[in-house]
Symmetry: C2
Subunit: 386 residues, 2 copies
Amino acid sequence: MNNTISFNRPYMTGRETHYLYQALEIGKLSGNGEFTKRCQEYFEKRYGFGKCLLTSSCTDALEMSALLCDIQPGDEVIMPSYTFVSTANAFILRGAKIVFADSRADQPNIDEDKIEALITERTKAIVPVHYAGVACNMDKIMALAERYGLFVIEDAAQAIDSYYTGQDGVKRALGSIGHFATFSFHETKNIISGEGGMLVINDDRFRHRAEVIWEKGTNRSAFFRGEVDKYGWIDVGSSFLPSEIVAAFLWAQLESLDDIQERRRAHWRKYYHRLSAWAGQHGIGMPHLPEYATNNAHIFYLICESGQQRDELIGLLRERGVQAVFHYLSLHRSPYYRDKHSGGELPNTDRYSEALLRLPLYYELEGIDTIITELKTYKRYEKVAV
Amino acid sequence: MNNTISFNRPYMTGRETHYLYQALEIGKLSGNGEFTKRCQEYFEKRYGFGKCLLTSSCTDALEMSALLCDIQPGDEVIMPSYTFVSTANAFILRGAKIVFADSRADQPNIDEDKIEALITERTKAIVPVHYAGVACNMDKIMALAERYGLFVIEDAAQAIDSYYTGQDGVKRALGSIGHFATFSFHETKNIISGEGGMLVINDDRFRHRAEVIWEKGTNRSAFFRGEVDKYGWIDVGSSFLPSEIVAAFLWAQLESLDDIQERRRAHWRKYYHRLSAWAGQHGIGMPHLPEYATNNAHIFYLICESGQQRDELIGLLRERGVQAVFHYLSLHRSPYYRDKHSGGELPNTDRYSEALLRLPLYYELEGIDTIITELKTYKRYEKVAV
C-alpha cells in the first residue's frame, strides 16, 4: 500500500539531531537545561504568555494545573464532553467530579451559554478546550470565572499560534488568557516533540509553586538561581519536565514554526475552498470560525449529516487509499463516566462524536488533490437508496 | 576550567540519532511504537521481568504503582528516608502517609529488621530502594509482605543489571522480585534517555490495568491487539508513556549495555582497590556489598567519619578541579515532611545524609587516576588541628 495517504505523518525539520548533539556537548540531557529554557522563553516572548514550563505531555500540564488549583475531592470542574480523556483524568486524579457541558451547535467548542447553569458551590474551575485550535468565547468564560471566583484552564493542546480577539478589540494568543493554559507537542500537533507539552502560568501568584511542583516538589530552581542556599523537599510534585533530548527536538521545530504554519494553512484553505460547494450539496457542514477566532490549521474537519454518512465517507476514502478518521467519543457516555454523569443530554456533543470526520493534514501532505477528487465521487444516499 | 572533571557526563553511543530517523521512517514519534516495544521486550527477556512499560520517568512509574496498589487517603507506605523525593511523592499524591524506616548501619539501604515494627493496620506497601544498585534483603522483605498482605514496589531506579541471590540459592535480577519495580533512565544512570523510566509488573493480576492507566485510562492497547472492537475511556490514567524519540535513544543504549557496564565496573574496581587502604587510615567507610548482592557500578561512594570531613574532601577536590557531591537529605527532616514524620530518630539515615560522598563515575571518565591521587593528598585533622 505504497500509495496510501496516511492521516498523519510527523515532520522533522532536519535540525533536531544537530541540537541533540549540542545538548550533549553542553553536557546535559536531563530536564531544565539550555534548550528547555530557550523554548520557554520563545513562547513567553512570541505569544505574551506568562511563565512557561515544558512538560512531558499536555496531560502532565493539566495535572500540574489541577495541583495548582488545589482541587480537592468533591470539587467540581466544568469542561466539554467532546474532548480527550486527559482533560478529565487530570482533575479526577485529584478527586474532582467532572461536570460536562454541551458543545456549541455550530462547532465543537464548549457552549459558553450553557456553563452558568452548571456552576454550584463546589465548582472550582472551567476548562475550555480550543478545539481544532479555534478559540472558545473567552470573554464570556472569563466573566463567569470572575463572577463566581473560578479558575480557568485553557486546554490549548491544539491551539498553538492561534488567537482570540476580545470585546476590547485586543487580539490575544490562545493560552495567554486563562489563569493557566496547557499545550501539546504530540506528534499529531502542528509543532511536535513526539510526546510533549507545556504549562503556561498566567496568574503570577502561582509561578513559584508551579516551578516547585515541576521539579518534584523541591526548590531546586530557586537554588540554581541563588535565591536559597540549599534545596530540599518543600511540597508535593512530580517529574513533569521533559529531557533536553525532547527540548532540543522542539527547538528545531520552533525555528520552523512560521514555515510549518504557512504550509498547513495553505493545505487547509485548499480543502476549504474546493470542498465548500460539494459539502453544501451533500448536507455536510464545513468548519465554522467565529469572528473572534483565527485559524491555526490544526485540523480540517467535516460535519457529516449522520454517523452513517461519515462511515460511508471513511469507507470510500479507505478504498481509495486515504486514511480519514473520526475524533472523540463523548466522555459523558464512556464506560468510565456514564454512571457518574449527571448533566443530562448533550446532543451537540453526541452529534460531533457521531458525525465529525477529519481529513489528512500535515506538513508533507502531497495527495490533497487526490483526497478532494476522491471525496467528490461520493454520492449522497448512494448506499441507502439500494 | 577545561581541566574540570565533572561529576557526571551523559554518554551517547552514536546510534541514538540513527534509530530516531528509523522511527521517523516508520512514521511514528509518539509513544508505544516499535522502539518502545523493542526496549520492553529486551528487559522482559534479559532480566526475567514481568510485563514492562516504559515511562517518562521513574517518578511516573512510581505513580503508576501507587495507582495500581489502589492507595487511598490515610494508607501507610513504608520506605527509607534516605531516598529521592519521588519515592515518597508518588504515594503522597494518592493521599498516603509515608512511614520512614532507618537505613542499615553498614550501607544506605532500608534496614530490613526495622520494618516490621512500623507495620500497622493501615500499611499497604513497602518500597525498598536498592541504593547504588545494591540489593536490599528481599527475602526478609517479601516474607513480611506475605505475612501482612502488603505490596512490595522495588524502587530500582539505580539498579539496572544488578542481582540478588535468595536463600533458595537462585540469583534474580533486581526488579523481578517485588509485585512492581521501577527503573530510571535519567542522565545520571548507567543506561540513559535523558529523562525516562520503566514500570515492571511482576504480579500478573495487574498487567491489564497497568496498560490502561499507561494509555491515559483507555483500552487502546487491547484495541490495537484486536481484543476489543473499539476503544474508549474505562479508567483513570495519565500520559505515562515516553515518545519513540526517547525509546529510540534508549534502544541504542541497550545495545551497548554490556560495554557500558564493563567500563563502569572497571572504574568502580579501580576506585575500590586503590582507595581501600587510604580510607581505612582516615576513618572513611568503603561501599559494603552484602553477600547476596551484586555490584552494577552505579555509584562509587565513601562514607566519611563526619560531615566536616566530607566537606573538607569536597572542598579539596573542588580546588583540584574535581566535582564530588553528597547525595540525599533525610526526607523525614525535610521542610515538607518533618512535621508529618512520626517514626522517631533515624540515625543511620542522618549519617548518610551528612557524610556520604560520591565520586565521579561515568563511561567516558578519564581522570580517575587524578581523582585518586588528589584524594590521597588529604590529611585527616589537617584543618581541625590548626
